[in-house]
Point group: C3
Chain length 168, copies 3
């Protein structure tokens, strides 16, 4: 089934674009959040975003077990929106998980999906080399995940200032 | 009337591209600088840039009241070049102004302009999340302004290494 | 002869793309490395990369004298791959060399090349202004070199997440 990867900068409008594309399929939309509700403030913010998306959407949290969450919620009449891969890479890094293995799992799930899969990620490699070693490692891992996902999907859109550019 | 938004990175050639496009209209060119002459060195640099643009151009300084400056200098036989929005956002942030309200004013002036309007801005969201909280806030505000202006204009060009890519 | 400039972010797949394009010419490939082997670890890494490229490639180190290295190894039956200009700019900056003069030499060599020339560089200007003064200077110099090289070559590709976008 078709899959879409939406790549963009901070405040580029990438999540809104991805949401519109997911809704345009007319399928039953499932939002897979990689953000974790650490405290009440975060829980409130996640709740507000849920209300923004409206009652048609169901929401699932998958800070680490992303491939499993897509597999569990992907059906031929569903569209799954993953927002975002950058946060997922951060979570894997902080939990000291095997990122290449998790990436392989993810790309297999995308390739075998019965319904639509839409994935959102940040492009973070177009600035100066970060001075912080953890930030450099994150940048490397995020870049590798973005390349692997871009290779696995059928369509890639780069979003800049709310406008999309077809990369694939 | 047509309006053009030129978005690019640092040292991408975005200002030169915007200036060429403004001159190619054949209209009377007005340069609206958002930079402020804080000291003599800055005053000298601004003066040098003015000489570079040549005698056809008139120059106006608008570090904060940008919508007003465009409104005042926009005429059916004029092209107004705003360089750049990123510095304007910085000025608004440091002066603790209402950035969403100022952005709405700006997009209204663009939509209602009688002459050509060309606006230049930096894309700053494609690197690593800044460690500095003010830099993060600036990045968010600049991204929102870029999205709003991109939606308001008729044409958007992304400039990378001196080459332009049509986004809209 | 045709020349190609491959611009991309960190971990964007730009080097792999450039290598594929060089090999697709069917010409005798020469790799010009701007990285310097400061210690045994670096020497080992450079050796590993050489083995990855395979026995068809010959490798030359040119941390500073890049124009000379291209001139020396460029022949009508050869393709020269320079990886990467960003590191070369760093080397020039740290050695306190005249970067505009070196850039002019480089663009002359590209324009006069008898064989294919493929050059790789990082786009580093799409993040927040760096707080570090040397990083700001590097960003300015790298941006100017990228503009000059993009103007001198026949083809420019921007690589994002392993996908290429034709800029020229």
């Amino acid at each position: 089934m078709p899959s879409l990867f939406v790549l963009g900068g901070a405040r580029s409008g990438k999540s809104r674009y991805a949401q519109h594309r997911a809704e345009a399929t007319g399928l039953s939309p499932v939002y897979i959040a990689t953000a974790q509700a650490w405290d009440d403030e975060m829980r409130d913010r996640i709740h507000l975003h849920q209300q923004d998306r409206g009652p048609a959407w169901s929401t699932v949290e998958a800070p680490l077990a992303l491939a499993e969450a897509i597999r569990a919620h992907n059906a031929s009449d569903a569209v799954v929106l993953v927002d975002c891969l950058t946060l997922w890479v951060t979570n894997l890094l902080l939990a000291d998980r095997d990122i290449p293995a998790a990436t392989t799992d993810l790309t297999k799930v995308i390739a075998g999906a019965r319904g639509h899969v839409v994935l959102v990620s940040n492009e973070v490699g177009l600035g100066i080399v970060p001075e912080n070693a953890l930030a450099r490692r994150f940048r490397d891992e995020a870049g590798r995940v973005n390349q692997a996902v871009a290779a696995a999907v059928g369509e890639v859109q780069l979003v800049v200032a709310g406008l999309n550019l077809t990369m694939k």
